[in-house]
Amino acid sequence: MSIDTDFQSKLVALVPGATVSENVVSQDTTGVRVWWQRSTANVDLLLSGVPALFDGTYDLEVSGVDIDSTATVADSLKTSLHGFRGSMGSSFVLGMFVQDQSDEYIPKSIDTIPEDEGFHIFTFRVQILS
């Protein structure tokens, strides 16, 4: 299993009531949706050719029509993921760090401007060192 698969499983376990989708947009508009996508994945090489640290970043979006439940899921995810270290499925995470997305970030999990469809959306970036 790849670290992406393990990350998906971890997200599903953390928010059992929400729809968690990797790279595809769920058509379910009733509940809270968690969407994520791998943004970068870099592995430095030592001079000898031995791979060094895996440094990956993931865009993560939490959206829903109810602001309170959406914010609750977003806050819960941030709290659970930020500072995580240890086994994640078949992967071992040396460190996981969550930051808010930059102001320039455009949400990808909603086709239109979020406010037009009454969606509330929280976006952040997850860095995984492995």
Binding site: V50, A52, L53, F92, L94, L129, S130
Partner: protein, 144 residues
Amino acid sequence: MTINRRVGFGNTLGVDSAGGTSFVTLGAIIDGWKGPQAKKEAIDISVLSDADKQFGVGQKDWGEVTFSIMYDPDETTTTTLETLFNSVSQVAANWRVTYGVGSTGSGTIKTRTFLGHVVGLSPEVKVNEHLMCEVTVKVSGAVA
């Protein structure tokens, strides 16, 4: 060649103020530490007939360890370090660095210990940032 990839997150620095081995982890270190910054003296042992300079080595100086903490006069990390700094005892505290496991959870947890005195405390207060304090520990003797 097997290299266990390790990062700073999850490593700890502990201290036993009495110089023993009952280490208390300093939980308020902000983002890591630097050191011991070790040096060894290089002694010129060249003689007139040497075409190339020859060097021997002298004593090792394990230098200092520096780090920053979140300063809180009520909290153990701050009070421990302040007590150590204010102490005039010549008995050095015992410090222990603990390196966590590496990638895939492999590699063993390793420690390094050394004796040292707290020789510098430098609190920093800014209007919209948390209180910080820079700490300097002078290593005495060897790092094992």
